[in-house]
């Protein structure tokens, strides 16, 4: 089966391992993600002020390209892209006045767009494919691994964009369980990592990341599972700074849920790419007896 795919900028740069593993898992499930021939940055964040229509153009134009290429749904991996595309789409579906203004701005586009493309996150697609079908494909049982699923914000809030229960999501727990690993519940699973404050206020992100990682560890996890490339960056890249500030802080691997699935499906290492994770997850996997130690 084919589905149109919008990667977004970060999947081509710092989150390449997310894209590689996701596409490999989809292929294994019989899905072909067709990357849009033409796409641009989605704008990253959804505009929240009523008069700021110009920033809705980027996401809308990307959705228009999906329609232009004959698609009626588009798959996203990045949580921020998902949220921005999803909300911009909902806006022009429900606000006729704004829709007309945005369409008028794009009057030279041959295809007219009214919000008719469905925006789907990979987790939603996996839910649709079904846990059972995924389970059939599992070749490596990840027994002995305790994982803390972390959702962040953009998959859950606001409610109109939520892919799961807004306060107590469980979809990542379900995926973790089917690999044989044990999902660990921890109170920070849907709390913000500090998001775009990293560059301007790294102190906020250092505190947030430390709280989230320590909470996951206290709950018994040895790694964190997530979907958002910005959460991944904040939680991974800030660990050095946390170590400098807090004596005794222990680092923790942060992996994409697609890497975990690729591992469980028995895919090759070039489809998992643990070498691109900032904190190397291999020692934890070796300790759990999932990967064999190479000398």
């Amino acid at each position: 089966m084919k589905i149109k795919y919008y990667p977004g900028c970060t999947l081509k740069t710092t989150a390449q391992h997310f894209e590689i593993s996701a596409l490999a898992v989809l292929e294994e499930l019989g899905y072909e993600a067709e990357e849009l021939k033409r796409w641009t940055c989605c704008g990253t964040v959804y505009s929240l002020t009523s008069d700021d229509l110009i920033h809705h153009l980027a996401p809308i134009r990307n959705l228009l390209r999906v329609k232009e290429e004959g698609g009626n749904r588009v798959l996203t991996l990045c949580s921020m892209c998902y949220n921005t595309l999803k909300r911009a789409n909902l806006l022009i579906k429900k606000d006729i006045e704004k829709r007309d203004k945005i369409k008028d701005f794009m009057y030279k586009e041959v295809i007219k767009y009214d919000g008719d493309v469905e925006v789907v996150h990979l987790l939603q697609l996996l839910r649709e494919i079904g846990i059972e079908k995924l389970k059939e494909k599992v070749k490596v049982i990840l027994k002995g691994l305790r994982i803390a699923p972390y959702y962040g914000c953009m998959l859950l809030r606001p409610e109109e964009a939520a892919i799961d229960d807004i306060e107590n999501p469980t979809i990542l727990e379900g995926l973790t369980e089917l690999t044989g690993a044990e999902p660990v519940n921890f109170p920070y699973k849907n709390e913000c990592c500090g998001s775009y404050q990293t560059l301007r206020r790294p102190d906020i992100v250092i505190e947030r990341a430390r709280t989230i990682i320590n909470s996951a560890r206290d709950a018994g996890a040895s790694m964190i599972l997530l979907s958002c490339p910005l959460c991944a960056f904040n939680l991974e890249a800030k660990q050095e700074a946390i170590k400098e500030k807090y004596y005794g802080f222990k680092t923790m691997p942060i992996i994409y849920f697609t890497q975990l699935l690729a591992l469980a499906l028995g895919l090759n290492e070039d489809k998992i790419r643990f070498d691109l994770n900032i904190v190397n997850p291999v020692p934890v996997l070796e300790e759990a007896g999932i990967m064999v130690k190479q000398d």
């Binding site: 929240l48 920033h55 409610e159 990293t198």
Partner: protein, 134 residues
Amino acid sequence: MGKIDIKEIRGKETKKIFTLSMENQYSCYQCGKCSAGCPSAPFMELLPNQVMRLLQFGKVERILETNTPFACCSCFVCSSRCPKGIDVAAIMESLRQLSLRAKKDDFDVKDVDPEELEKAPPILIVGTFRKLSS
């Protein structure tokens, strides 16, 4: 916070926040759920519920003297938990916009270590520009 001034309550800036956010600050009854859930609250000079209260009195300038709108992460916990359905995150964005449209940027890319910038994901760089600069 100074005296309550009817001119401020009905002032241009108060109205601007309303037209930008399309949210009614007067429906806030100070339950404090927004501040309780806010990940940036420990770093804020004013808590989100205090911002809402000051906004009811038209004290927009007083709010903009603090770091609060720019310490917000736009995580939408406040908006999703508000029992009155106020999109507090949209109000925070309107406050930021008021400041940014007066050319008061909160972010200068020159202040960032070039090495750090090189490692940063595009969503982080674009997001920072979009939220903290005009």
